[in-house]
């Protein structure tokens, strides 16, 4: 099996390099013939968004072709309810990307009339959570899923589907037998009756002499977000870890439906508290693409500065916690002070310690403008921070007791990282390149000089080193941006964005009227211009937003994917063979978001 795929890859490598040099528009022609034949329709939604429409029965073939043969990465997978007038129409999209090409491939298919779509989890483990998410939130059945337990709507609190027929158009009420909140006919704000509907089952049990289970969470001794971990152990070594997250599902995607872009922006800032800038950036870039809003150069530079400040802050914070968790409180305290100073700098720059409310549609809010005085102070502070950071780094690298804890702990193999499509630093510490800033350059990253370091050591220490590289690159990127920042005039003034929204509405009205007039078949294929992808590289890895607007420029479907959604699954593999006392370090070396994971 392994050899086969390797051979296949060798065959294709010629093909792949061929693709790279060619124009993106010729991409389809260079695919295998039998793949091209099963594609119903393909078009470019935007210059780097290639949409491929296929039938569900061909889904497996085409996805595996991209994933296994062409070594594409899966970035997101989600459903959208496009049912109209009692009809039943669920679209399912898979977004693929490749590290050497600025191209997103959106494979678009649909669920059958009785709400069934083929499951690919057995071949693409990364789809495991995605398919279960679709099953919970839309009530669509991934056929042949190896682990069909609920992912987010747990049987303890949510009614489970009992009728096999999977009636699509049942009326929802608080005591109804099913709860699929992302369906359009599910009333927003409706909560199922609070009672116990069933029992949660763990996936697998490890049995044997001296094997015991330790259940941790969702309530912890420290003040952290909820997460449940079940360790199967034999003495200290961990035999198996099963994580159970999604304890505080907020329903952001449902709340956002029907909201304006500004309202949704406020939600975007709250997806994952420490990644406020990254998530709003991803959301705004999608919205701006759809509305065709151009951002001034100065706006781009300012956005980059704030994005890098956030990356810097998060990396310093993780660095401090790694110190703390090995019990080196002296280093931890110094690093926490540095983190606090960065947050105070943020407050000075924008009025918010997390830089909340800085980004706006079309540019930057006035509060986030960086004038000459702020620029001077920012430069001074950064050189001070860098000096302090380098001292702390030296302290860590000089301490054998600290390094001893980090080295050879928490291995994430390259194969695991590839199978689960690990993102960001988790991938880069295991020898897999993953950096959206390089792959799909946005803002002004193509003009900046920075490295995206990839290491092969795959342990906790490698992930810490990657953080060090990232911190140093962030310092350098912010300095580069500050040097380039001189033009005045912060934003495409708000009016411009308004004009664009009006233009969009007009355009959309025309399009929908022609669609209903001409296209009576009901497949709303002309909708393509209504949606777009927004992405950015957060500190944890790629953030992918899919935003679809209706003709009134309100949110129709918004799929948010935080890097934690991919990377949480890595932990189950990273801890195997480690002792349980080292779990907190492995966990902290990835430092994933619970909130961003559980929308």
């Amino acid at each position: 099996m392994e050899n086969k795929s390797v051979n296949k890859q060798d065959d294709k490598s010629v093909n792949k390099s061929g693709i790279k040099s060619l124009n993106k528009t010729d991409f389809i022609k260079n695919l295998d013939n039998d793949i091209v034949n099963i594609i119903n329709e393909h078009f470019f939604n935007r210059d780097n968004e290639l949409v491929i429409k296929i039938n569900p029965e061909d889904l497996k073939k085409i996805c595996l072709y991209f994933f296994k043969d062409l070594k594409f990465y899966l970035l997101s997978a989600f459903a959208a309810d496009e049912s109209k007038d009692g009809g039943n129409n669920f679209k399912i999209r898979y977004i693929f990307s490749h590290s050497s090409m600025d191209l997103f491939i959106i494979v678009e298919t649909y669920a059958s009339a009785d709400g069934i779509f083929p499951s690919l989890s057995a071949d693409m483990p990364v789809l495991n959570w995605y398919e279960r998410e679709i099953k919970d939130l839309f009530g669509l059945i991934p056929e042949g899923h190896p682990d069909p337990r609920p992912l987010m709507l747990f049987p303890e609190n949510y009614p489970q589907d009992t009728n096999k027929n999977n009636e699509i158009n049942s009326q929802y009420s608080s005591d109804s037998a099913s709860c699929h909140p992302l369906r359009k006919d599910y009333p927003s704000g409706l909560r199922p009756e609070f009672k116990k509907y069933g029992e949660y089952n763990y996936n697998k049990d490890v049995k044997g002499d001296g094997v015991f289970n330790i259940l941790v969470g969702p309530v912890h001794a420290g003040i952290i977000e909820p997460g449940h971990f079940r360790f199967c152990m034999s003495g200290e070594p961990i035999l198996q870890l099963e994580i159970r997250h999604f304890w505080k599902h907020r329903g952001i995607e449902k709340i956002a439906e029907g909201k304006t872009i500004d309202e949704a922006l406020s939600l975007a800032e709250k997806i994952s508290g420490d990644h406020c800038v990254a998530h709003s950036l991803a959301f705004l870039s999608a919205a701006e693409k759809i509305l065709d809003i151009k951002i001034s150069d100065r706006g781009l530079y300012l956005r980059t500065i704030y994005a890098e400040l956030e990356r810097l802050l998060c990396n310093i914070n993780d660095f401090a916690w790694l110190f703390q968790d090995v019990g080196y409180s002296f280093g931890a305290q110094e690093t926490f002070v540095l983190k606090e100073d960065i947050m105070e700098l943020n407050k000075y720059l924008s009025g918010s310690r997390f830089n909340k409310g800085v980004l706006s549609l079309g540019g930057i809010n006035a509060c986030g403008d960086i004038d000459e005085l702020k620029k001077k102070i920012l430069t001074e502070k950064l050189s001070d921070f860098k000096k302090r950071y380098l001292n702390l780094k030296k302290a860590l690298l000089n301490s054998s007791t600290i390094q001893e804890r980090f080295e050879e702990t928490g291995y994430i193999n390259k194969e695991t990282a590839l199978d689960l499509c690990a993102l960001g630093l988790a991938a880069r510490a295991s020898g897999v390149a993953s950096d959206t800033r390089k792959e799909h350059s946005y803002l002004i990253y193509d003009k900046l000089h920075f490295n995206s370091k990839v290491l092969k050591n795959k342990d906790v220490f490698a992930r810490l080193l990657i953080r060090f590289y990232d911190i140093e690159e962030s310092f350098s990127i912010i300095t580069q941006c500050l040097n380039e920042l001189h033009a005045e005039g912060t934003q495409t003034s708000l009016n411009d964005a308004d004009i664009n929204i009006k233009k969009y509405k007009l355009n959309a009205a025309i399009l929908t009227s022609t669609e209903t007039g001409v296209n009576t078949a009901g497949n709303n294929s002309n909708n393509a211009v209504f949606w777009g992808l927004g992405y950015c590289e957060s500190q944890r890895g790629n953030i992918m937003h899919f935003v679809e607007l209706d003709e009134r420029a309100k949110i129709l479907r918004w799929k948010i994917r935080d890097p934690s959604f991919h990377n949480w699954q890595l932990i189950e593999f990273a801890v195997i063979g480690d002792i349980i006392a080292d779990f907190p370090i492995v966990n902290k070396s990835l430092n994933l978001s619970y909130a961003g994971n559980d929308l």
Partner: protein
């Protein structure tokens, strides 16, 4: 030995006074270590009398017991506390008039503390929580590895002073000083430091400040404890630390009025005792300070490195014993 009634009465008074002193300053020493750590980290730190306030707060709270807990959980906190108290009675603090004293009592001291450790481990497992058993198994591993080293260090001094009575050992060391066997002493001191760190759950063996349940050793066992049970456990661990520090300070810093008090009844006075107590507290603070420095400058060891660390202590204690014997 003098068999004077008055002397006996005085000796008993001093013995009680010694135990009381231990009980009184134990929370303070813990807070003192924390304070030094905080200052070194650039923090203000908790007040020096926070230890007393914590104990007082806990005593006034009710006890919540797990439904699965048996009678062991109800008795264990008291047994642990009493066993530490009893071992404190063996200990001559500032005068050699310990409340309990007989030949071989230094071994009794070590194993009465061991009884407390045993019941604490039982308590950890009895609560039927995920972490208690984990903590118990770790604690027993550490205790069983630390114990031989402790005994060897004790035997070094027992051989030297030809007695296993703590009071006699202390008197002898105070009389002769340790300059007779300096190398042997230094090695024994390091070995003793390693054991104290391990037995008292300090960095690099255990982290008393951590909130991470999975890495805890001592804290994991008492994670379910509450109210006065927790107060007893906390107090026991304060006392255990002070007992180790007292042992160390009296063996390795043999200066002061130690031997003077009981043997010359004529010079027995309140002032002498006050002087001795002040000197003792000073010695304790001197010995508590390095603990803070070690905790601040090291990371916690990976759990499976702890046996290596304790092995170092064991080897040092053997060398110390051999060096003495040559």
């Amino acid at each position: 030995m003098l068999n004077n009634d008055l002397l006996n009465f005085n000796a008993v008074l001093i013995g009680i006074g010694q135990v009381l002193i231990l009980i009184l300053i134990a929370p303070f020493v813990n807070s003192y270590i924390n304070k030094i750590k905080s200052i070194l980290r650039g923090q203000q730190g908790r007040p020096l009398f926070q230890g007393y306030k914590d104990i007082f707060k806990l005593i006034s709270k009710e006890v919540v017991l797990s439904e699965d807990a048996s009678y062991i959980s109800r008795f264990a906190p008291y047994i642990v506390f009493v066993s530490i108290l009893v071992s404190a009675c063996f200990l001559p603090v500032f005068s050699s008039d310990a409340l309990l004293s007989f030949t071989g009592d230094i071994i009794a001291l070590v194993y009465t503390i061991g009884l407390g450790t045993f019941f604490m481990a039982l308590y950890g497992m009895d609560q039927a929580s995920s972490f208690g058993g984990l903590g118990s198994s770790r604690d027993i591993l550490i205790a069983s590895l630390a114990e031989p080293t402790l005994m060897l260090v004790i035997f070094t001094f027992a051989l030297q002073t030809r007695t296993t009575n703590i009071s006699q050992i202390f008197i002898d060391i105070h009389k002769n000083g340790f300059l007779n066997y300096p190398v042997s002493y230094v090695l024994a001191l390091i070995a003793f430091l390693i054991i104290s760190v391990a037995e008292n759950g300090r960095i690099p063996v255990d982290n008393p400040d951590t909130h991470l349940e999975l890495t805890m050793v001592h804290e994991a066992m008492i994670l379910e404890g509450s109210g006065r049970h927790l107060a007893l456990f906390e107090y026991s661990s304060y006392l255990k630390l002070i007992i180790f520090i007292t042992l160390a300070s009296n063996i390795f810093l043999p200066i002061g009025v130690y031997g003077g008090i009981p043997h010359s009844l004529s010079s027995f006075s309140f002032l002498t005792i006050l002087y001795a107590v002040a000197f003792y507290i000073l010695k304790v603070l001197i010995f508590a300070t390095p603990i803070a420095f070690i905790e601040i400058s090291m990371a916690k060891l990976r759990f499976f490195r702890v046996p290596d660390f304790l092995m170092l202590g064991f080897v040092l204690s053997i060398i110390s014993l051999v060096l003495y014997s040559i």
